[in-house]
Symmetry: C2
Subunit: 159 residues, 2 copies
DNA sequence: TCGAGATACTAAGTAATACTTATTATCAGC
DNA sequence: GCTGATAATAAGTATTACTTAGTATCTCGA
């Protein structure tokens, strides 16, 4: 039987598109001298959205382990984009807040993200693009659900 | 103009979906005891498709620098999935070939990729899924073109 | 109330993926 | 045959992830 290797299979496609988007984004951020990566930008935007937020909550929203989140926050704190403040309601916890520099850098990355988006959408109609984004949201939601079930299962097995 | 930054913008969406797909894929590969990552699988499949191939050609197809490719091949070689053979037509170059173990592991990863794809496509009609893949292919092609132009420009600037 | 177990965070260690720069061997063109 | 380009890699760095283990603190039940 002939080998079926689909170079355009879902996994490779989505990985390629994400990789290309990230590399292009990183290149333009670098060019603009903003001094952070797409991954750090992702964290910044979630912090912006969530307001002062506990690290464990932020980790969950980012879909990473608490330790991974902590390391990312270390870098962002070193760069002066966020602060960790004690949570008055729980002395174990810390609240993550954006600094003025963090707010500023988010404002400046917006136009850059817009140029990448425009480039990615070249040759597609607005309707096609919206459909595309809608499907991406749908798939993300599906996969997030699967991942959460798997993690719950893993915790159960561990217990 | 105000730039609306949110986690549902294109860059974050596609990154999230790729991350979730990769993590889920890695989890199932791990579960099956195949002993490699999605990234390594990507390299394996490109080697399979290209046949005996020079490392620099492979690097270009993978869209990474020669050194990154070399490191990935080190891991694959250590695991016994590939071999580096001297290129008879150029003594500087090496040809990368799959071993029997490499062929075997590609066969076994196929069904795993299929389960992830099925899960990702839950709740979408076949037509919607095809449209989605078509748009991903289109965007990949657009971004690849942009990246190649940028690299050509960088080489020119360096010269 | 107090003690056990859970939770919030971090230190330490590991691994994969990616880059840059510099080096060695070899090739190709003048 | 020399010179510059090319193929691969060594060395060093950074990011993004994980696990395990440890400390401080909280919460709930006996």
């Amino acid at each position: 039987m002939k080998f079926h290797i689909d170079p355009d299979s879902f996994g490779f496609l989505v990985n390629d598109v994400a990789r290309l988007t990230r590399l292009e984004m990183d290149r333009r951020i670098e060019e603009a001298g903003l001094g952070f990566t797409t991954g750090e930008g992702r964290a910044l935007i979630h912090i912006k959205r969530a307001g002062p937020v506990r690290q464990n909550v932020l980790a969950e929203r980012l879909g990473v382990e608490a330790m991974t989140c902590s390391t990312t926050l270390d870098r962002l704190e070193a760069k002066g984009f966020i602060e960790r403040r004690p949570d008055p309601s729980d002395r174990r916890a810390k609240l993550v807040v954006l600094t003025a520099a963090g707010e500023d850098v988010i404002e400046r990355v917006g136009p850059i993200a817009a140029t990448v988006r425009e480039d990615a959408a070249l040759g597609l109609s607005p309707a096609e693009w919206e459909t595309f984004l809608g499907t991406l949201r749908h798939v993300r939601s599906t996969l997030t659900g699967i991942r959460e079930s798997a993690q719950a299962q893993a915790r159960e097995d561990a217990a």
